[in-house]
């Protein structure tokens, strides 16, 4: 469906280290496409702790995850990185010509001379309730997001969670579903107060039901859900349901990285400490996803790794070309690239 994209470098992961890799590669005239499963840049900084101050970025006494992300985007803007969000890299293979073929779950294919895995803890995926057999219902009866409201028309819907997604969809789906039951472990919610008020008002009118509890089991046949079992304070309750929407946020899974034939150690990619190259020449791993003796999972370690990786990547992309080491403070050619001169 899509045209193949040919590029010097594909970076897997748009967290702080993946973003800074764009900068280090850019100084060496290497162009990068960046792929991330999230719908925006920042990785863990944006998804897990956008508001939390970080105190150990050199030269920046205090910065939040979101500010750091914004600063990095500003810093790499001169290199015009091409982002591909909401896509997960599913396959990575070496071609006969020595280049790599990278494919995403959106069907996009990249052909790159170098691949940089900066995937942190892996890919963010919805937290799946630990209910036996839930996988069999996913995509048919169990959803972690609402794509089409029509999928819920005239259905008995159970929504689990206490945040904005759970409350917003309780309010929205009430208008089309046959029934909506909201389940949460307590009667307080972290969702926006006006949504919570609205939900209670609908509950009073009998238009939505609320249950205190946690999902403990599912009943159904061949992927078709018929009931959700709840563990409540008083015991178990069975609710007729053919749709379940659990909203528990995201967690990180290593995902397809494990299938790319790279040497791993406890789910981390082993690299050398001169180039941060994996067991497959031309594929590098930087940031939290790599391991080597003495590794510290710090953003600043990832920045250092990005700089050394870029030198090695340049040698692959432009073999034989002499690399002149330059400083951004003194090199007019680097300053031109940064549009500062």
């Amino acid at each position: 469906m899509n045209e193949h994209i040919e590029t010097d470098v594909v970076i897997v992961g748009a967290g702080p280290v993946g973003l800074f890799a764009v900068f280090e590669l850019g100084l060496l005239d290497l162009r990068a496409h960046v792929i991330d499963i999230l719908d925006r840049p920042g990785g863990q900084c944006a998804e897990l702790y956008p508001e939390k101050p970080i105190y150990d970025i050199p030269g920046i006494p205090e910065v939040t995850g979101q500010q750091l992300t914004d600063n990095l985007l500003h810093q790499i803007a001169p290199f015009d990185p091409q982002f591909h969000f909401s896509q997960m890299v599913t396959a990575l293979e070496k071609q006969e010509d020595g280049r790599f073929r990278v494919e995403t779950d959106a069907g996009q294919i990249f052909i790159a001379k170098v691949v940089v895995i900066a995937a942190g803890g892996g890919s963010f995926q919805p937290k799946r309730p630990p209910v036996p057999g839930i996988e069999d219902y996913e995509g048919g009866s169990v959803f972690y997001a609402v794509r089409r409201m029509e999928d819920f028309r005239d259905r008995n819907v159970v929504i689990v969670g206490g945040g904005d997604s759970a409350l917003d969809w309780t309010l929205n789906l009430e208008t089309v579903a046959k029934s909506v039951t909201l389940v949460h472990r307590r009667a307080d919610f972290r969702a926006a107060p006006h949504s919570v008020e609205k939900m209670w008002a609908l509950e009073k009118e009998g238009r939505v039901r609320f249950r205190l509890g946690q999902v403990s089991g599912l009943e159904g046949l061949e992927g078709g859900l018929s009931a959700v079992m709840l563990k409540t304070g008083d015991g178990e309750e069975r609710i007729d349901a053919d749709r379940l929407l659990p909203f528990f946020g995201l967690t990180m899974k290593l995902g397809p990285v494990a299938n790319w034939g790279l040497n791993l150690n406890e789910n981390l990619i082993t690299v050398d400490t001169a180039k941060f190259e994996t067991s497959e020449p031309g594929i590098f791993a930087i940031g939290d996803i790599n391991t080597y003796p003495g590794k510290l999972k710090l953003i600043l370690s990832g920045f250092h790794e990005a700089a050394l990786m870029a030198q090695a990547a340049k040698r692959i992309v432009s073999p034989g070309e002499r690399i002149i080491f330059q400083y951004t403070t003194s090199s007019t050619s680097l300053q031109k690239k940064l549009k500062a001169a």
Binding site: L48, G161, Q214, F248, T251, A258
Partner: protein, 110 residues
């Protein structure tokens, strides 16, 4: 100063603890299996523990952000806490906790 931690296999470990450290950090630094994927930012729920009843009272109650994070965690009980939000003090010498389901590190498929 010590804490007692029962792992996901039911084995009880007695760990030397240091004042001022987070219980999650103590468990992690003694190499017990704990995912603690956000590193102590109260942002993931993968350091979830059950606190022994006799100790529950002695802990400073959870802040809103911990309670809200527990809302996004599974198998939550009345004595659930996030171990990254429990800071070791002399009063907690002997603390007894059990790692909850969902705290195991991901294992690569063989």
């Amino acid at each position: 100063m010590q804490i007692h931690v029962t792992d996901r296999h039911g084995k009880r470990h007695t760990l030397e603890a240091l004042e001022g450290f987070r219980v999650m950090e103590i468990i992690r630094d003694w190499d017990l299996d704990i995912k603690a994927e956000c590193g102590g930012a109260c942002a993931c729920g993968t350091c979830h523990v059950y606190v022994a009843p006799e100790w529950a009272e002695k802990l400073r109650g959870p802040l809103d952000e911990e309670t809200e994070q527990l809302d996004m965690t599974f198998d939550v009980e009345a004595n659930s806490r996030l171990s990254c939000q429990i800071i070791m003090t002399a009063e907690l010498d002997g603390l007894e906790v059990t790692l909850a389901p969902g705290t195991e590190k991901e294992r690569a498929a063989a």
